[in-house]
């Protein structure tokens, strides 16, 4: 419908304001990273905050986050890729039931099933509490529905005719999958990997609730805030982990987008 100009201008300003409110915290945190205190408007720009971080222990936390991201990605690709393929391409009894079951975890608030895992481990495997495998399993669980959905979508948008053509040409199903299906769904595969990686590398709740021995970056920052409050050096830590994770994701995206064709051929 036709709205009058003042109304349209007001609505546009409201939308921009909302966007600004949502983005402002990130800008504020960047400003805080380069000042001596966290006051607004910012004064005294320095790089002192970078020097006030206990770098070795924070590096360990970042490394742990990245390791968690890497292993989660590999684990989830290994188990979700075949499952998504089967759910999208094969017809078998119980298929619709299974595709619903896989999305059941999304109706659970994250904290409830992670604490269920925590209690289960504490009672039955107390010696495994806080070890890497448990943290990995708990973290990866949360990303399963997202990864399966992304992979299923990329299978659904790829015509099965390519696989059939490869079979008739003499390719074994596995050969057809590796040489034809994988390269064609490549972009979807990268999207799914990026979802898994960021979800794990930026995760806080599983590591926190499962009492990970080595904290992830998010957990480390949370403990740091508990000790010293919101200081410029904490802002620097947040900035660094975000830059690292987003940088890796972007780098992966560009490397694979250019070279994916050459990977399997």
């Amino acid at each position: 419908m036709k709205l009058s100009r003042p109304v349209l201008v007001t609505l546009n300003i409201a939308a921009l304001l909302l966007a600004f409110i949502l983005i402002w915290p990130v800008i504020q945190m960047m400003l805080s990273s380069f000042t001596t205190d966290i006051d607004f408007p910012p004064r005294n720009f320095t790089l002192n905050a970078f020097g006030n971080i206990v770098w070795p222990s924070y590096f360990l936390a970042i490394r742990f986050s990245l390791e968690l991201g890497l292993w989660t990605t590999l684990l989830l690709l290994a188990i979700c890729l075949p499952a998504a393929y089967v759910l999208e391409r094969r017809r078998f009894p119980g298929r619709s039931l299974l595709s619903v079951l896989i999305f059941v975890p999304t109706i659970f608030p994250g904290v409830t099933y992670v604490s269920a895992i925590g209690i289960y481990v504490a009672i039955f495997f107390p010696y495994l509490r806080g070890t890497f495998p448990i943290v990995l399993l708990g973290t990866a669980m949360g990303a399963i529905p997202l990864v399966v959905r992304a992979l299923q979508a990329s299978f659904a948008t790829t015509d099965p005719v390519y696989e059939e053509a490869a079979l008739v040409m003499g390719a074994h199903p596995l050969q057809a999958f590796v040489r034809v299906t994988l390269p064609i769904i490549g972009p979807g595969l990268i999207t799914a990997s990026m979802i898994a990686f960021t979800a794990a590398a930026m995760s806080f709740t599983p590591a926190f609730i499962l009492g990970s021995g080595q904290p992830t970056a998010a957990y480390y920052i949370y403990r740091e805030i508990g000790k010293v409050g919101f200081t410029p050096s904490v802002a620097v830590m947040v900035l660094i982990i975000q830059v690292v994770v987003l940088g890796i994701v972007q780098a992966m995206y560009f490397i694979f987008r250019r070279q994916f064709r050459g990977l399997f051929v």
């Binding site: 040409m169 040489r179 064609i184």
Partner: protein, 360 residues
């Protein structure tokens, strides 16, 4: 190159039976077309022969070997699909060469064979292009080349032209026929387009509702349909309900139902007796319009009333009434503009163009 035999093939999808005991024989080196309306089971039959579907009953032989349960990748076939299937992540060269490598061709023979086959489909010099650098027709020709390169026993074409526009379709069809003649590869073409099947094939299989209706040379099926379905599916046919009045010297004399009118037809392939009800099939294209004064010189002259005449391209399509029965006529040549709506005209049809089909 090989003969293909299919024996009483049955394929069910749940409660629906897509193939109801189909028997097919495809001669060596032929270009056989399977023609039928959509949903008649022709694609199912092709996919069973390709090995992409497992039939429930029956056997399939390619050459002397039974392949009913053989995996598709062990069958040595070439296949062209309805939707574009050139691998988008490989170049034209890689698409074809990969197929050759899969069929264990010697490394040094591959480049030569790719060049040879690309020349055949007129894509010379396009080796390094990818799917997005080719037109739809070119991409489909790559798929044809890819299918033919390893010298398959049998080439399967699953509506290979339906994704292309009309002009390109005719062009590529002519090329497919040329390539087939040149290579001599036994070819099976599935299509729902009768003109495609009639143009290309030297052997035609007509299918309907999971069964083979008629099989033979295209001209034969066109001229001598053996069932109501065959008569109606190909071309525009007029079906006139008649009874056999008497058997006369040149053929059969038929009496048109509900009208004091007689037609003469050639003797049909099936035995007829006097009083038997039959359909007299007369193609709209086989009817000639004649001036009233020349009528006595012809057999099978009828007087009709023209109801509607419409120019549709090269011929005039006429809806007329022969006594109580509707009649459609395609008139070409100089006579086509002489017909006036709501006025009478005289028609004739030769004995050979009246085909009889049993009626019950």
């Amino acid at each position: 190159m090989a003969v293909v035999r299919v024996e009483s093939l049955v394929k069910r999808y749940g409660a629906v039976t897509a193939l109801k005991g189909v028997d097919v024989f495809i001669p060596n080196g032929s270009l056989t077309a399977i023609l039928g309306p959509s949903g008649c089971g022709k694609t199912t039959l092709l996919r069973c022969i390709a090995g992409l579907l497992l039939p429930d009953e029956g056997r399939i032989y390619i050459g002397s070997q039974e392949v009913t349960r053989v995996e598709p990748f062990h069958r040595n076939l070439g296949m062209v699909f309805q939707r574009p299937s050139m691998f988008p992540h490989m170049t034209v060269y890689e698409n074809i060469a990969w197929g050759l490598r899969l069929r264990r061709w010697q490394k040094h023979e591959i480049p030569r064979r790719v060049r040879e086959i690309l020349e055949l489909v007129r894509l010379k010099g396009m080796e390094d292009r990818r799917y997005n650098q080719l037109s739809g027709g070119q991409a489909q020709r790559v798929v044809i080349a890819r299918a033919l390169a390893p010298k398959p026993d049998l080439l399967l074409l699953d509506e290979p032209l339906s994704a292309l526009d009309a002009k390109l379709r005719a062009e590529l069809l002519a090329e497919i026929v040329d390539i087939q003649r040149e290579t001599g590869c036994t070819t099976l073409l599935v299509t729902h387009d009768q003109s495609e099947a009639l143009t290309a094939a030297d052997n035609l299989i007509l299918m309907n509702e999971g069964e083979i209706v008629q099989q033979g040379a295209p001209l034969d099926i066109y001229r001598r349909p053996q069932s109501v379905f065959s008569a109606n599916f190909i071309g525009t046919n007029n079906m006139l309900p008649c009874t056999v009045a008497r058997l006369d010297a040149p053929g059969v004399v038929l009496k048109l139902e509900d009208a004091p009118l007689e037609l003469v037809a050639d003797l049909p392939a099936f035995p007829v007796e006097i009083g038997q009800p039959v359909w007299a099939c007369v193609r709209a294209d086989d009817i000639d319009v004649i001036p009233q004064e020349t009528a006595p010189h012809y057999r099978n002259v009828v007087k009709i009333c023209v109801e509607r005449a419409a120019l549709t391209g090269g011929f005039v399509s006429v809806e007329a009434r022969l006594e109580a029965h509707p009649l459609r006529i395609h008139v070409s040549g100089s006579a086509r503009f002489a017909l006036l709506e709501q006025s009478p005209a005289f028609l004739t049809v030769s004995l050979a163009h009246v085909t009889l089909v049993p009626r019950d």
